[in-house]
Amino acid sequence: MLHLTIDGVSINVPAGTTVLEAARGMGEYVPTLCWHPNLTPANACRACVVEIEGSRALVSSCSRQAEDGMVVKTKTERVHNARQVIAELLTSTNNTASAGDLQELVSHTAANTLRFAGGETWEQPLRDDNNLFVRNYDACILCYRCVEACGVDVQNTFAIAVAGRGFDAHIDTGFDRPLPESDCVFCGNCVEVCPTGALLDKKEYELRQSGRWEEQDITTTRTTCSYCGVGCELELHVMDNQVVKVTSPEDNPITHGMLCVKGRYGYEYVQVHEDITEPAP
């Protein structure tokens, strides 16, 4: 057990615990935007920074392992200023309409969303180039989750990466090719982990656009994917007796919320009502 002090309270945590886990375990509010329980910490958003005695700069708590004797402060003026400015910078840049975690950070830090607004933004056309999901990068906060999910953390497909630098850094399929021309296998795991709505299933996108996506009318049913012998656990999201989305529980020990293209998107056959009466020509 390691012994550390967080906001004046001493606690014991097992070795390997991150400062974020330790602080949240005590009930402290530590915001995160890029951190995801099933992905490697990207350290990119910097919202989870805390003060650690002996460190000149603030420290991202999501990736920092707790150490014996560490003295951590999560509520100082510096921490607050950093989080507030981060919220203000992101809102000055991105469309945050469907970014729940970011909206929470804004209200928690009482951020003034107009403070740094008025300059260049990430406003850009929707990328709608396939039947399964759309990419709405004006909402993208460059959290790296999709890149990690597409890469070594989950999918090992490497269809997308960060390209460009500074304010022009962005998620790219390689020369901004349409997704179907990229290496993408349409597993949708990037959509699953995207925290801002920048990546959205096409079905959900269309229903939302036409005002027919009613969160309160959606029920979820757990079942098992029937495509292959792995038998991933699925959650069918059903609205008006139609499957509108398929996910897998984030805490499922096999899938960790990740699926393949068949499990995630191959559900339309269950709601096609014309019987097949003769073999395809």
Binding site: C45, A47, V49, A57, L58, Q84, F116, R165, F167
Partner: protein, 408 residues
């Protein structure tokens, strides 16, 4: 004039920079053998005794890094020479490598044997093709001397592809590994998990040249110039409104006034107009006033009084015609262009600072700017974002540089 890191003029005329004669005449052969003989513990003690700090900008105690890497139990370790040199106003490593490449390379080999590395890398700025060729020539000389080759340390040269951020040590490792040069979060530190996630010693060119000099001579010789706090000499790069721009080797502790005004160094602004401001330490450095410059000496404790540092040794002078707003806009554009874009405070913060400067809303947005600069310094991942607002804040804190009454 003092000649230590640079060879004296007679030797420069008599021998080629990358030649066996130069290796011998400069005492580097002696240095290499001497270091092998006394063993790594003594080598590190000597480095400690001259209080050598890194010359790449951060002045981190060199001996501490060597000890950490040496003490790592891993069998595979690396040493790296950082010759990426891409900060505006910094051009001393280029000059040093062109004029005396065997010094830094000898230092690199001494480092490799002291910490137990079999593989060394030289990471050189991509635009420095002439430097790269000179390094390759020097490596050939070392191979002929039998210091590198099969069964011994090998040295590979890697070329940067045009990004300032690739000079940041962990970004540099990513670049050598074939990834985007995005800085990594520390800890783990390079000494424990650096290049290819193995213990790695990375040093600036000039730091390694000092190592070669130390073992070509001894601790007392090394300490005979400079100050108690910082023995030895420093390469400074003078640029801007200066009569004699260029790289000068000077002892630590030299009066900045002499360095700027003396005919054998800067020789004044050279424009006939008075000095208005001095930028100490490059783009991420600190603006000081002429009054401060004439009080200060080139040493860390002394410059700290003015909130400044030696940095990489870049000193930029500006005369009375200089438009500080435009200069700051140029610096802000540099950081906005060179940010890797990985973290929010730096990716968006550098952009917003640039926009504020371009629209000349600096002074009425003082309070917001202060919060932004603080957040960038506190919460950015790497030194780029952490220091990108330094020069701006230092300038705004010195009302006499402007005709503005109040400080930030």
């Amino acid at each position: 004039m003092i000649y230590r890191l640079f060879p004296n003029p007679e030797l420069e005329l008599a021998t080629a920079p990358a030649s066996r004669e130069r290796l011998v005449e400069r005492g580097f052969e002696r240095a290499y053998e001497n270091a092998q003989e006394i063993g790594s513990d003594t080598v590190i003690q000597h480095i400690q005794a001259i209080r050598l700090g890194g010359r790449g900008g951060a002045a981190f105690p060199t001996a501490r890094k060597w000890l950490s890497v040496k003490n790592e139990a891993e069998s595979i370790k690396y040493v790296v020479m950082n010759a990426d040199e891409s900060e505006p106003g910094t051009f001393k490593d280029r000059e040093l490598l062109l004029r005396d490449p065997l010094g830094p390379l000898t230092g690199l080999l001494i480092a490799a044997s002291a910490v137990g590395a079999q593989q060394a890398y030289v990471y050189v700025r991509g635009e420095y093709r002439d430097v790269e060729i000179r390094i390759q020539e020097a490596i050939t000389v070392l191979a002929e001397a039998g210091w590198i080759g099969p069964g011994k340390v090998s040295i590979d040269v890697r070329r940067g592809a045009g990004a300032y951020i690739a000079g940041e040590e962990t970004a540099l490792f990513n670049s050598i590994e074939g990834y985007r040069p995005e800085p990594r979060v520390k800890p783990p530190y390079p000494t424990a998990q650096g290049l290819f996630h193995k213990p790695t010693l990375i040093q600036n060119v000039e730091t390694l040249a000092n190592i070669a000099l130390l073992f070509a001579h001894d601790v007392d010789w090394f300490r005979a110039v400079g100050t108690d706090a910082t023995p030895g000499t420093k390469l400074v790069a003078l640029s801007g409104h200066v009569a004699n721009p260029g790289v000068y080797e000077v002892p630590f502790g030299i009066e900045l006034g002499a360095l700027i005004g003396d005919g054998q160094y800067g020789g004044g602004t050279g424009t006939g107009r008075p000095l208005k401001a001095v930028l100490m330490g490059g783009a991420a450095g600190t603006f000081i006033t002429p009054q401060e410059a004439f009080e200060a000496r080139l040493d860390y404790p002394d410059l700290a009084k003015f909130g400044a540092g030696v940095g990489s040794g870049a000193i930029m002078l500006f005369d009375s015609t200089a438009d500080l707003g435009r200069i700051l806009t140029g610096l802000a554009r540099f950081f906005a262009d060179e940010s890797c874009g990985q973290c929010v405070p730096c990716r968006i913060g550098t952009k917003r600072i640039l926009e504020l400067l371009e629209t000349q809303r600096l002074w009425d947005r003082r309070a917001d700017l202060k919060d932004l600069a603080t957040a960038m310094t506190d919460a950015s991942i790497c030194g780029l974002g952490q220091t990108a607002a330094n020069a701006l804040v230092s300038a705004m804190n010195r009302p006499s540089l402007w005709n503005e009454p109040a400080a930030l």
